[in-house]
Each structure stands twice: as structure tokens, then as C-alpha cells.
Amino acid sequence: MTDEKPDDLTQPDDGTFFEQSDRRLFLKQSLAVAGLTLSPLSFLKTAEPDADEAPFGNAEKVSFNLSINGKKHRLSTDPRTTLLDLLREQLGLTGTKKGCDFGQCGACTVHVDGQRVLACLSFAVMQNGRKITTIEGLAKGDRLHPMQEAFIKHDGFQCGYCTPGQLMSAVSCVREGRANSEADIQEYMSGNLCRCGAYPNIVKAILDVKTGGQNA
């Protein structure tokens, strides 16, 4: 889990980052590991979700409609449920990843009405009536999306955890007309972090799709 959490973030502009909170998380995780060697019980305890972050209180469920990867859904959730948690926990669409859960890493990038957004920073109820595309909806059956092909061709990943978010963002980057040069891609893909450092190959893959004239 620690490997999946970017720890070298400076401050994204929407203001979601803070060194201290990351450090705190790191401490918690280190404690959890230390606890394991001392006492399995204390490990279990620290491994529980942080009380600060767990929902509490009674919220009335709210009903709403979403189209996800072309399929219509009638849903009912606690309004605190983020779009990310709805996809992963309620609908089993675990291709969309939870990296930081605070809008800093881009692992949860999905398309809403064709635009890339962060699923972790949106309550699911707010998306009522919208069309969501997740990584599961990018390929056409067995035929991979050209961007997926290009990521394979250029080896645009190592561990693969950030890849669904990178792909969703990359497809948008081309659609937005922001993939005209390496510098352009670096700038407009900056919301997607890759701890393995696959950036050069990700950039190559996107440029290949763009210059190959393939439809993103």
C-alpha cells in the first residue's frame, strides 16, 4: 500500500496537498508495520480505517441515475459516497484506482460526459444524469483502445497502479488538443503521478496516438 501512495507531492493548486498530512499517514503506516512484529492485535487495530476519515452519523440515502460505460443504473447512496467509492465498492468496477483519495495523484481519473475528472473529489449524487466512462469502458469488447495499445507498445507502465488513470487522462489530453508536443503532454498530464517513473514512455505513447492520427 505504501508503494502505491505518492509521497513526493508538492502542492497541487486546488489545494489538496499537505506535506504534514502525508507524513502523518506515513507514520501511521510505519506504526502499523512496527505493530505487526510486536503484537498482531495492535496491528489489526491500527489497520482499521482512521476514525477521522470514516463516515459517521445517519445520512438519508439519496436516489439518482447514472449511465456507466453505456449501462443505465438507478442507484441509492449515502450522499457522502464519492463517485470513486460508488464505482469500486458498490458496483465492483475496481479498475478505477484509489491512490491518495485527496485529488493529488490522478489514479481515480474517469470521464464524466466525456471530460476527465477525479472520481475521489466528487460525491456520486452530484453526477445525477451524467454519463460515466471508466477504464472498463475504454476498450470495445476485445479490441483495445488505441491508447491502451500504445501504452503496451511503448511500455508506458511498470507496476500498473496509476495506469487506468493515466489512460483515461491521456485519452482526454488528446481530445482536448493538448498533446501536440512532449512539453505539452508533460504539462497537461501533470495531474497523473507515476511512482515507478514511467513518464518518458507514457509521453511517447500519447505522442504516438496523437501523431498516428488514431481516434482517441
Binding site: P12, D13, T16, L121, F123, Y188
Partner: protein, 332 residues
Amino acid sequence: MKAFEYVRPSTIREAIELVATNPKAQFIAGGTNLIDLMKHGIAAPEKLVDINHLPLKKIEKRDDFLRIGALVLNSEVASHKRVLASHPLLAQALNAGASGQLRNMATVGGNLLQRTRCPYFYDRAFPCNKRIPGSGCGALGGINRMHAIFGVPEKPDPKSCIAVHPSDLSVALSALEATVLVQGHRGERQIPMADFYRLPNNRPEQDTTLSNGELITAVEIPDAVFQKHVHYLKVRDRASYAFALVSVAAALDIDQNRIKTARLSMGGVAHKPWRLFDAEKMLTGQAVSETVFRQAAEAAMQGARAFEHNAYKLRVAPNAIVQALKLAAGLS
């Protein structure tokens, strides 16, 4: 996260009433700042009033200004043809901020209303006067590398705040002398950018001059002559997707190598966008030259004050001003 009631009113009037009559209710638009704060347990509204469906999504050319609806997305403004033609500084500032995903979520109104904040505001293990008024300031004796150099009294008030406002858009709007249109249950009012944000003083929990229940409906930017000679310069720890350490919005009206009008505003240096009136005055009527820019930058730095870790801003800021002016004037 605390439970909240979610409501989606269909009219502006209804939305305003819902928030104006309940101090624990809040508007939500893009949610990129508010949801983050709610996840951290810093904001805990009992009622969330979703305004995303309200008719505030137009960019319109009016008599002598451009009106941008409060719910227009940051990405929509940044790629709008009219904006690019008449107010390119806005697009530059917006594209320097956040990430592609966040710009597709964040609205103009929400961008202006993101909290002025620092790491201590987020870290509940530390005191923070903005989070809990009167609790103290973690940054004063802590790591204050990101913090303010302007608008800070000689003896910093331990009950106040030294955080900086992180919006790039508001820095550009401040330089362009935009007006914020606001609607409350007592009617509408127009707030010039210069009066929209406040210094923390004895109410650090209050970032703006809005009253509870007042809703931003639009911003209006006067038609200006600032198309050709503008530049938004953002200095940050990494090349992209980071807050400004210092940013400069520079807009010049140059006629035959002489500056007719200059507008300058800085981000990352104060609790609010920091307009450089003295430097603007100094530049007016002058011939374009690096020497003049340097003099203006020096004038701009009067009254700046550093804390333990942000003295570097006293050097970065004037250099950034000069560089932004040179780029705006086409000197470099």
C-alpha cells in the same frame, strides 16, 4: 466525514434561501476544495446545497465587459475563444493552476472561494486560527516556507494567520480589475476584486467579504487593452501542478515603446491577491526598459517581511516581477 443533507434546488433564489437561513449549510459546485476539506474533517456542513444545475454557465459579451458565469468551468474559460482573444491573461493563469482533471471540475466561483490555507490549516494536530479561531498559529513558529511576506504586521498577531491565497485566477482577475457579482437574500451587489478578499487581522476564519448565503453569480472583466502585452509567471517547486511560491500577473498597455497603463498583481505572497499599485504608478508613462522594471519591482517590495523559512521570497518576488514584465513587454 459527518453526515449531511444533500439538496439540489432548481432556482438561484431557493439556493440562496437555503444557505442564508442556515449557518451550517454550504453551497457546493465543483467540490474540489470543499470535499477535500470535508474528508479531512475541517469543513463539516450539515446541509450541502448543490448549485451545479443553476443557470450560471454562460460567457457573455456585454457593453464594455465580459461576463463569466460563476459555474463556468476553469477549463471552459481557459479554452474559450473570446477569452483567449480579449483576456489572454485569464487563460494563462488558469492553465498554470491545478491539473487537467481539476480544471474540468472547478468552477469560476469555486476557484475564487477556495480557502486561503496552509499545511497547518489541514493538520488538526496543530493549532490554526483559521480552523479554530483563537487556537494559535502553527506556522508562526513552525515551517513557514510557503507563507506570506505582505500584509503581515511588524509584530505578527499570534491570533491571526500568515497563509497565502492559492488561486491563480484571482491574481489575474485582480490585475484586470474584475468585479464579482454576488446575490444574497437582500439583493445583488457588485464587489470590486480589490475588496473581495480580506487580510486576516482579527478574523482569520473569514477569507472574503461575502456574507453567509451570498452566492457569486458571475465575474465581470472590463474590456481592456491588455491583449498583447500580458504574462502570468508562476514560480513553484516543480514544473507543473503545484501551488505558487510566488506568481505575477503582468498586463501592460504599450504605445510606441511607452507604457500607458500597467497592472500588476502577485500570488503566493499574501492572504489575498496582492496588487502592486506603487509599481504600477511608477511604470506609467515610462519607456519600456529592464531598468524601469527593476525599479518598479523594488518599489513593489516595500513593506515585505519574511519569516524564518520564507526569506527567499524577498529575492524571488522582485525577480519574478521583472521577468513577468519583460515577458509581457516582449523583452525576453
